[in-house]
């Protein structure tokens, strides 16, 4: 049998989360097929066809899938399920939205946010906000899995799989997309950025986040925030890094004025290098930081910019 990976995309661009999910799927059950469900998404299917290890790309190009709403996605994936022994989606807000519906319809448990494939039926996943790691073994039957993409490397893009058109399934019309408010930014996305500069309650206001944004632009970095900063209304919700926000693992994570609540650490502790800058020398984040600087962030940010300028940034 084979596994089916549900592609993450915005109808024009294939999300990197897909390539990482393919890597996990290869370890669960090869060959791997990728489902691209969307509208006017031929370019996405072409990109998916290049992923190494992918044997075939299925494209369902129809209006109900434009926004990947959970109800039509469930019907489509369930209709394809008999041919696969594993179905995997990245643990994005899309994947988390539609995949449990598929599992329930197929009467199998879902294994959420795996971080490691121990063997084809055994997986590691974080529980208690990452304070414990459970190793779970699936029973016989189909495996329905969401993948924490920061834990897997992206599949290479040197393949050339055939693309097959499939028919849309009927849409019940029970849900309808009304609109969206996306944070438009020239900066890289949080989950794909190599460098992230992140601010906490210590930033004191949304206005002050501009300081971080300037620094981020110098570094070609993404801007993140702690839950405290989001709850205080400094920045929108999609900036939140943490167990219930985005889980990130960049090469370099620089935390300004973040104390280091457990739930924030759960979202960034797999970063390669962690830098913490905080004026409270007892801040818990210092216990996990590779480099710690006790300093007032309003002095530290301009100082860092100045040092970077010296280096030609």
């Amino acid at each position: 049998m084979a596994s089916l990976v549900i592609a993450e995309h915005d109808n024009s661009k294939l999300g990197e989360a897909t390539a990482k999910t393919v890597t996990a799927a290869m370890q669960v059950s090869a060959p791997v097929h990728v489902l691209v469900a969307g509208s006017d998404c031929a370019g996405v299917a072409n990109a998916a066809a290049k992923l190494a290890g992918v044997e075939k790309v299925l494209i369902a190009d129809a209006p109900p899938y434009t926004r990947m709403l959970a109800e039509p996605m469930e019907a489509l994936i369930v209709s394809l399920a008999p041919a696969y022994d594993a179905i995997l989606a990245p643990a994005t807000t899309n994947g988390k939205n539609y995949l449990p519906r598929v599992a329930a319809k197929l009467d199998v448990p879902q294994i959420s946010e795996i971080t490691k494939v121990v063997s084809p039926d055994t997986f590691e996943r974080p529980i208690y906000a990452g304070n414990a790691i459970a190793t779970v073994q699936a029973a016989d039957g189909k495996k329905i899995i969401t993948v924490r993409t920061t834990a897997f490397a992206a599949a290479a893009a040197d393949g050339n799989a055939p693309i097959e058109k499939i028919d849309a399934t009927a849409d019940s019309g029970a849900s309808r997309f009304v609109g969206e408010e996306l944070s438009r930014s020239e900066r890289p996305e949080l989950t794909a950025a190599k460098i992230i500069v992140s601010g906490g309650r210590g930033m004191q206001s949304g206005e002050n986040f501009k300081l971080l944004e300037n620094l981020a632009d110098k570094l070609h970095a993404a801007v993140g925030a702690s839950r405290a900063a989001v709850d205080a209304g400094f920045v929108p919700n999609d900036y939140q890094v943490g167990q219930t926000g985005k889980v990130v693992a960049p090469q370099l994570y620089i935390a300004f004025g973040i104390s280091g609540a457990i739930q924030h650490l759960a979202g960034m502790k797999d970063s390669k290098i962690i830098v913490a800058i905080n004026k409270d020398e007892d801040a818990p984040i210092f216990q996990i930081a590779d480099y710690a600087l006790v300093a007032d962030l309003f002095q530290a940010i301009p100082e860092m910019e100045a040092e970077l300028t010296k280096l030609g940034y």
Binding site: A70, E71, E74, T93, N94, K96, N97, Y98, L99, P100, R101, V102, A103, A104, V108, P109, S112, I127, Y128, A129, N131, A132, A134, T135, V136, Q137, A138, A139, S172, A174, S175, F177, V178, E180, S183, T191, V230, N237, D238, T244, Q251, L252, I262, K272, I273, V275, F286, Q287, I288, D290, Y291, A292, L293, A295, A300, M304, E307, L308, L311, Y313
Partner: protein
């Protein structure tokens, strides 16, 4: 419109979780337990719907051991009208919970189910979506804002890129995200009143559901620890170190 709010008893979010030395799980002995924070937000939203005249009755449901009744009492003190306690010991997986809730929904015929998007113990983020699928209802997950209209609801959802609004037909399942509302504290008179409210006692068998776990937990371990690194004195030193490490 009747609203059902499932609530789960979990380790209090302020408690430091300890993994048992034998790797069999997390130590729950003598640990403070509370209502799952996302479920508190769900109770608050349901009670506000009642206060606005959109809901007629709020029913709090919990599936769990004897002490889960305390979690239902908490919901009753926050404004829920009555409770249903489905007594079950040990781990009940999200799919089994969803099946029991389906049975309750068939008996109670609510117009809406509001529940937390995930429980902070197993972090599965599945049950609401599974329930919606089993009932063939639409869903509004990770809700940031809820507007109940005539036979439909508009849900503003927290998604990776920002916010998305969907319109779903009722009945439906809504799961709550962090910023939907700020739950109130129960007042002493309401805590007293809650003691007189009715809690029905049920078992999974009443709904014909087998709760035997389908996933086998082989072990539970501590995550790999990161060590604290170097404390630096100046920004120049920090940037120098990052340069050396190849991060800049």
């Amino acid at each position: 419109m009747k609203v059902i709010v499932p609530v789960k008893r979990v380790i209090d979010f302020n408690v430091k979780v300890r993994v048992k030395a034998d790797g069999s799980g997390v130590d729950l002995a003598n640990v403070k337990m509370s209502m799952n924070p996302f479920d508190e937000i769900a109770v608050e939203e349901a009670v506000r719907l009642k206060e606005k005249g959109k809901a007629t009755e709020v029913v709090a449901v919990s599936i769990g051991p004897q002490q889960a009744a305390e979690t239902i009492r908490t919901a009753l003190a926050l404004g829920a009208d009555r409770g249903i306690h489905v007594k079950a010991d040990g781990e009940v997986e999200p799919l089994a919970v969803a099946k029991i809730l389906k049975g309750i929904c068939e008996a109670e015929e609510p117009g809406l189910v509001i529940m937390g998007k995930q429980a902070i113990d197993d972090d599965s983020n599945q049950t609401g979506q599974m329930l919606a699928a089993l009932l063939a209802w639409p869903q509004g997950t990770f809700a940031h804002k809820v507007e109940i209209g005539d036979g439909q609801a508009q849900i503003e959802r927290e998604i990776d890129g920002g916010l998305q609004t969907v319109e779903i037909k009722l009945p439906a399942v809504i799961t709550t995200d962090l910023r939907l509302n700020e739950p109130r504290y129960a007042s002493l008179p309401n805590i007293m009143k809650a003691k007189k409210k009715n809690i029905d006692q049920k078992t999974p068998a009443d709904y014909g559901i087998d709760i035997t776990p389908r996933l086998k937990v082989l072990k539970v371990t501590e995550p790999a620890k990161r060590q604290a690194g170097a404390k630096l004195k100046t920004m120049a030193e920090l940037v120098g170190k990052l340069r050396e490490a190849g991060a800049l």
